[in-house]
């Protein structure tokens, strides 16, 4: 679905966001794009969508060069930006004038998603709260039924029940033919939703792996006294840490802990994942 090879990108020369970035994303997956602030999550999404252009290297989005932003590609892609500017119209009118551009758009889907999110179909989008706006636009994005759906910090501004609703709907609509990329810095928001993780750090990527592979290679547990770990955090339960999974026992993946471990011990994480 997306192939990125040897990509270099910077806003200011000498201050590279990406250097020789290599990344593959396949259909049928929900990717969580994780990274600290300023590590290039939104930049990567914009590069994939063709909103900004790489300095060198090659990007292919659904077999096309995204920089050309051909209608044939754009009709297969929907990008939900972090900051949404919408015209002063209701979703009913917004859909009337925007949906004809998307061949797989379903009005029934839109109405049902909006109902699930408890957002009015008739209310002006501009008069909605930030969370409601997000939900309205996410509903429209999902209803477009594009094979590639990109969402930049979609859970920002959503209340707790809405985040749960968001996870339910996105996991339900993801099919074998669809690829969903969600960027966030609130890792917990994506728990039980994503099946693959991409972690950006420095001028590149630390990990692009599936939750299954993380589960096979790492164990998340309360550490015994004196037990060594790759990374650990102290809490009420004691030392909560991540260790290499040598026993092949399964443990529930703690994405936030894995993310913190990847930031703190990138080389160890990389070496275990590439074994």
């Amino acid at each position: 679905m997306i192939q990125i090879s040897n990509v270099e990108f910077y806003y200011k020369k000498g201050n590279n966001i990406f250097n020789n970035l290599e990344l593959n994303m396949k259909k049928g997956h929900i990717y969580g794009l994780l990274g600290r602030n300023g590590m290039g999550k939104s930049t990567l999404l914009k590069l994939i969508s063709g909103l900004i252009f790489s300095k060198s290297g090659k990007i292919e989005t659904m077999g096309e060069n995204p920089e050309r932003r051909l209608p044939s590609m754009m009709t297969q892609l929907f990008y939900v930006p972090e900051e949404i500017t919408t015209p002063t119209v209701s979703m009913k009118q917004f859909a009337k004038y925007n949906s004809p551009f998307y061949v797989n758009f379903s009005l029934e889907d839109l109405k049902s998603y909006m109902e699930e999110f408890e957002v009015s179909y008739e209310q002006k989008i501009s008069s909605m709260s930030l969370g409601q706006k997000k939900k309205a636009i996410i509903s429209f994005a999902l209803a477009c039924n594009t094979p590639l759906l990109i969402m930049d910090e979609p859970t920002n501004g959503l209340d707790i029940p809405s985040k749960s609703q968001f996870r339910k709907i996105v996991s339900r609509v993801t099919t074998e033919e669809r690829c969903v990329i969600i960027s966030t810095h609130q890792v917990r928001d994506l728990e039980n939703l994503i099946d693959s993780v991409v972690i950006l750090e420095g001028d590149g990527m630390i990990a692009n792996t599936s939750i299954e592979k993380i589960s096979q290679n790492f164990m998340f547990k309360v550490l015994d006294k004196g037990e060594e770990s790759i990374y650990e955090e102290s809490g009420i339960r004691g030392r909560w840490g991540i260790v290499e999974n040598n026993t092949k026992e399964e443990s529930k993946v703690d994405i936030e802990l894995f993310f913190n471990a990847a930031i703190a011990q990138p080389e160890i994480i990389k070496s275990i994942l590439t074994r």
Binding site: Y11, S49, L51, I52, F53, E67, R69, L70, P71, S72, M73, M74, T75, F78, Y79, P81, E83, I84, T85, T86, P87, T88, V89, Q93, Y97, N98, P100, F101, Y102, I137
Partner: protein, 299 residues
């Protein structure tokens, strides 16, 4: 799928554009109508009331020019901004860069909106309002405004009387302009206009990413270029047609009636030298565009 130009997508885009910007267009039209009306009725009233038809004509012409330039500037800059704003790279508006529509479709829609729709609406509105105002305040015989030469022939006016038709001749020449006659004269004007519009388009694309000082420079150049090229075009057309009505070669008549003397050697040189000054802002725009390449819609 046709990735270059598809009429259905073009029409859908136009429909969406007019719907989403309808309030801006209505406000713009109202502002222009009120502006023309105020300038035509309230502006420069020193000669109004005189019985001297020559003075009266000049006063009207003065107002006519002011209303035309000021309102056309405002109208064109606004309509250019509205036409192109969906393509701005800086603003990640959902209906802008992310819409499945080709660059060609967006570009030709902007051109169509500015050059065809904008011109038709403005000129039709402008002449309707000025004619109405003139008939209301200055001339009681409204048909006078539109008939030009026919009026002269019908009423057997002398050359001096025909000077009154200065404004009519401009109307007449614009009619010819749209009919495409006298292409020899009008080709530079058409190019000048296209040049100005493209400059304005660069201005609107570059504007959001530039700091205030740069934006002011660009704004100044765009506006100055716009006014100068349009005024040259306008006076040029007017004087050519006047030349047809009253023998323009007769310099005495030109001096007596204070007509724009543009067909002299000096003025011809000036006409071709002035556009050279366009090079400077165009270089500036080019540099700004190069700097902004990452963010804009073109590569």
């Amino acid at each position: 799928m046709n990735n270059t130009f598809n009429f259905k997508r073009f029409a859908l885009y136009a429909r969406k554009h007019y719907w989403e910007n309808r309030k801006s267009y209505i406000l713009l039209l109202l502002a222009v109508i009120v502006g023309i009306f105020l300038i035509e009725t309230k502006g420069s009233t020193s000669h109004v009331g005189t019985t001297n038809i020559d003075f009266q004509t000049r006063a009207i012409t003065q107002r006519f020019y002011i209303a035309f330039f000021v309102m056309l500037s405002i109208f064109t800059i606004s309509i250019t901004y509205l036409s192109i704003k969906g393509s701005k790279g800086q603003n990640l508006k959902m209906d802008g860069m992310l819409l499945p529509i080709s660059f060609q479709e967006k570009f030709w829609f902007a051109i169509f909106n500015i050059m065809v729709v904008g011109n038709i609406v403005f000129f039709a509105g402008f002449y309707a309002i000025t004619s109405y105002v003139d008939s209301l305040y200055y001339f009681t015989e409204t048909s006078y405004i539109f008939k030009g030469i026919d009026y002269k022939i019908k009423y057997g006016l002398t050359i001096e009387d025909t000077i009154v038709n200065m404004k009519n001749s401009q109307l007449f020449s614009l009619a010819k302009f749209f009919k495409g006659s006298n292409l020899t004269y009008y080709t530079p004007i058409i190019f000048g206009y296209l040049y100005t519009v493209s400059t304005l388009m660069w201005f609107t694309i570059s504007f959001p990413k530039l700091n205030k000082a740069n934006a002011i420079i660009i704004n100044y150049f765009s506006h100055a270029l716009f006014i100068s090229s349009i005024s040259f075009a306008f006076v040029y057309i007017g004087s050519i047609t006047i030349g047809e009505i009253i023998n323009i070669q007769n310099e005495n008549i030109q001096v007596i009636y204070d007509l724009p003397i543009l067909l002299t050697k000096q003025s011809v040189i000036l006409d071709y030298v002035v556009p050279i000054f366009w090079i400077l802002p165009m270089i500036y725009f080019w540099c700004a565009w190069k700097k902004l390449k990452t963010f804009n819609n073109y590569k």
